[in-house]
Symmetry: C2
Subunit: 196 residues, 2 copies
């Protein structure tokens, strides 16, 4: 039996291939042609499912934000005291960044995303809501937060995000080496004590 003309579920196949490629070869290897090759189709086939490379990466990133949100929610439980919730959330944020560095880069530092996509916006917004709703985790995210709370939430987010970014970029390791500290991972863990 030769390869059938129709793939079956090329859309999912392309997203799968893209993620595998992202994990194995890194973000720079994410070309439309390479993804199509990995999925076993011609380089023009993706056109019918995604407008262009940006469209494909935007879809993949949307999935990434959904997984990110799930990873955060999995670590936060309503019965936890607020301080523990905060620590758990920060730890989950860093854990996701470390477990899926390629996806994390795509989500936060890619210039090839279409941020006008409603799906992407919604997924990203839902993930970030987990962070800002930490003081009221009982689904009270209906109304807008007052300015003070927003500033606090953004400060927390900035801190954890900064840690994740500098860590993934190897700055923490470089700094630790420079000051003769052997355990960058432990340092990152200790940094969470400074979470606002």
């Amino acid at each position: 039996m030769a390869k059938p003309y129709h793939h079956g579920d090329l859309r999912a196949g392309l997203l799968d291939a893209a993620e595998t490629l992202l994990d194995t070869e890194g973000i720079a290897a994410l070309s439309l042609r390479a993804i199509a090759r990995a999925a076993g189709v011609s380089h023009a086939a993706p056109k019918h499912h995604f407008r262009d490379l940006t469209g494909l990466l935007t879809a993949l990133t949307t999935i990434g934000f959904e997984r990110f949100r799930a990873a955060l929610l999995a670590e936060v439980h309503p019965e936890m005291p607020p301080a523990s919730r905060l620590r758990a959330l920060g730890s989950a944020y860093l854990g996701f960044a470390r477990a899926h560095p390629g996806l994390f880069q795509l989500m936060f530092r890619s210039e090839r995303l279409d941020w006008t996509s409603p799906d992407l916006r919604q997924a990203a917004s839902a993930a970030f809501a987990v962070l800002s709703d930490i003081d009221a985790p009982s689904g009270a995210s209906a109304g807008p937060i007052p300015r003070e709370g927003l500033v606090r939430a953004l400060a927390r987010w900035s801190f954890v995000h900064g840690v994740a970014t500098l860590w993934l970029d190897g700055r923490v390791a470089a700094m630790a080496a420079k000051h003769q500290q052997p355990d960058p991972g432990g340092i990152v863990h200790d940094m969470l004590a400074w979470l606002p």
Copy 2:
């Protein structure tokens, strides 16, 4: 008088052209050919001054880190009380990111840099030293910092860097809009109060 065969100082000309292109067209427009065109030479001319595009961008980024360091040092004065120094430094960090977003992106989120370059490493290290030396600004950066201080310094750095990153990416504005707050810049400013 026709265009002379030799440029005179093509190395500086290319770096100039690259920075102009970065400021006007954004980081995505930084192709070797576009830079060469802007400098008025053939696309193979840069080869003699930089090994490849990575080499050129690495040199430009090195300059960026030197300017970054100068911008930080310009705002910090020994006679300031430590708390003021900290605030001033954070403010200068954000100010640089806002004033030179393209350069900032190149410095912190580009995959096309050669981090084995001694020049780049030295420039980056010197810039970061301004941040970690804040508690002892009198040039006492000779020896390594103890672990506690390193964690604290990295925490501060992570926070400011996270703020800058989320700000430049438009997340602060998006979050502010979602919660009906009109002034993202003011929010960013207020976030600095949470600096560890």
